[in-house]
Amino acid sequence: MNATSTTRTGATRAESWDDLVTAALLGTDRRPRADAAPGREAPLALLDAAAVATVRRRAGLRPARAARRPEPAPEDPRPALPAAAAHRLATLLADRSAGAGGGRRGSAPDLTELLPQWLAAAVAHGYAAPAQLLPSLLDAARGRTDLRPAALAFAGPRALWLARLNADWRFALRAAPGGGAALPGPEDAEAVHRLWQEGLFAERVALLGALRTRAPVRARELLASTWPQERAEDRLMFLDAMRAGLSVEDEPFLERALGDRSRNVRATAAELLSALAGSALAARMAVRAAVCVALDRTQRTPAIVVEPPLECDSSMERDGVVATPPAGRGERSWWLGQLVEATPLGTWSERLGGRTARQIVALPVTDGWQDELHAAWCRAAMRQRDAEWSRALLGAPSAPEAGGPGAVSLAERAKLLAALDPAQRAAWVAGFIATHGLSEAFQLLGVCAVPWAAPLGRSVVDALNIARDAGSYPWSFSGVMGLAERCLDPAETARLEALLAIPDEREDAAPGAGGYWAEAFQRLVTTLRLRAAMADELAPPASTRAPAPVEASAQPPDAAG
């Protein structure tokens, strides 16, 4: 196998190895050997010679010439992981590679689910990944796209170096996170220019993204310098990178992009401009939308009356309005939605009698236009990240329509929540759970900051407790239970211990449910302790090594000998 890459010496003078192989292939009956010793059978003489040649060839093996060496991986200046944290990571990754494993989850923590959190914490601490774990990390990131940003940020420059050598990891080059150490900093103008001119597409996207977060104007100038020469799909990706750090200074560039040859580029430029409340496009959209939405003063109680556009003219199209609706939607409501969505929310107060967002949302809407209008406002609030309108559209968490079908779906509520600050978000979801229980809360919990704020955590645990008392099986709540394992503050552990005992079985309860609940809570507690230990291991050496109090008292009451 290595005959080509290893130099061999010592072929006999009389008979080369190739001669022996040829003789053996043909057989001594067909090719008698001339020099066979007298009295020795020809095949055995051939084997004798081959044995000598084989051992001689092997004994004479010498190293091959070295192939061209790869450039060494760039330095990773970050400090090394503390040893305990490195072992923890190895365990988390080993658990992943051991396969998902079916069946009931039992009371042991699901380590795979803790990996994202571990990675996020390690990135936040600024540690370098242990080199020998990079292949496992890359494999993990390959299998789970949600892990990629954190895994690649943690894996650092050496992972990108590895990815160039292994086709399985090419995704890492495409998804290289902004600010990766392999990218030149904004101050290195020459390197930036060269990479922009000569880099692969993925490298250019990464460069633009990184530059945009640190020097937005420079990034825009760089993009503008080559804009006309870029391919349409590249222009779209580059334009998308402008989302970060968007400001009024970008408006002239984006206005020019409204005249782009590609419709997708035009639409993205329009979307970016409409997110800039002061932009000319936003003002034009506001004028159009204002024609369609007005206060009806003829009623005794004020209401909003809606008159959707009659046509989609070329100037609307130029501003990014898509003329043709998707199947099943009316043209006029389709256009209306786009106009309202792109209109700065600040214009509505003046247009609708000086009311606040909350008052406007409370106004009745005539002729069944409420759902359409409120949905468009939701999209506008998300696009413009307007906390006041988000709060108004969310309404009170305890309102009956918050839990059921209404103008604003749960998915939209989840997105609106993202515009609120973390404490308000947690408080709203806590209120929602207190009124509506857990069955609809999953999506909303997903947007809350981790670890959950105390009131939110308490409302989730209370709701789980209520669900247990209601006698159903815990796997009806496995989604929320899984979230709680990852998101509940480990400080809540003590409050949970009362739930670990197996309750007396009630007559109307599902058979055995109490035991399963105890097991689920046991897993929750164990996972929280593990998370506390993980956080402790990741703490920088200076501030640590008081033994973790959570771990020290880690005797579950039912297992005490």
Partner: protein, 448 residues
Amino acid sequence: MTEQGVRWTAEQVLALAPDAASRKAGSKLGTAGPWSGTGSGEGTVWGLCKGSGSRPYQTVVDLAGPAYKCSCPSRKFPCKHALGLLLLWADGGGSVPVSAEPPDWAGQWLEGRRERGESKPGRDEGSSAAGPADPQAARRRAERRAERVTAGATELEQRLADLLRGGLASAEQAGYGVWDETAARMVDAQAPGLAARVRELGTIPASGAGWPGRLLEECALLHLLDRGWLRRDRLPEALAATVRSRLGLPAAADGPPVRDRWLVLAQYDTVDAKLTTRRVWLHGVSSGATRLLLSYGAAGRAPELSLPVGLALDAELSGHPGAGRHRAGLGERFGPPAPAAFRPPGMPTARATARYGEALRDDPWLDAVPVTLERVIPVPDGETWQLADADADSALPLTRAARSRPGLWRLVALSGGAPVTVFGECGHRGFTPLTAWAAAADEAVPLC
């Protein structure tokens, strides 16, 4: 040494797991939740693990060994409870306190082990015989076996001659069945070494380009082995012992015991339908010797001997007979394996191939020798990889097996294009890396 100092790492514990499922199950139990009554001391760890039943399982590990006992019904060895307990202990988070006295249930087992002397076993197969009861009968048995082996070797010579007479080209058409039958005849002849080599021969015609050359090589070496057996009375004693061991005749590890701190360089298993073979490479910190321990497990069961890479074991080893061979038997152990910040001294690639050539003098059937390469860089070379000297223009190609293992990428990642130290097996097929050390760290990174 403090108690903290002798803890193993999680990787070292997980390396003991008999399979991936046990690894997963064990790592789930490596948290304080299900455990109570845990403790450790004097090279032992114990604890109670809450399972599905009402009584917790009693788990105890003797780190010298390591040996395990658990009251669970699992047939896995070690079971997930033992792994979980060791992980918890390795974690060092205070969940397994140091305690002077083990509880009764653990103490009894440990006591029993020590009384039977099992924590210092010389239980290597073949060496267990404390001398046959009837030397006369034993000699007759040995003579009968030698006759059968001679008959087998003679028959095999005949078959090889027939093959060469008709030509290797016919071997390609003949298929595997012929070889299988011949291998079975060698098993009957009580020459397992010959049987294994014959089975190998059968796989070569399907092994891709260049097979005739490889088949001739292996036929020639097999012929050499036959001839060696048939003329063993004329060979130097050491070479005759090598021939006997290549044929698979049992021999006790009867060399003089060498006490040393033996660093565990590598441990890996090869599995076939009937047997799991575990190879453990050890390096004597003072003696500088490299030795191989073999242990076996029946199909589906991991061999009992398990030594985590990177630990060092204070123990006596005795060599098996046979010149140029590294195999040894484990004798008395003087304590549990403990972490060692030590790496074996290495050599450049040219010295490694020379070392292989020299070893062939004593054992021409040797496929590879254990070597540590110093300052080498893994370099891609077309479809394959090589280890190139950092300071010279020469390199060793990796074996086909090594190229397809995930350990290759661990090695490449560890190096990052910079020189590393690599322990592995170097031979005519190329180099198989087994363990590596980064330039700046003493941590041994297993690659197999």
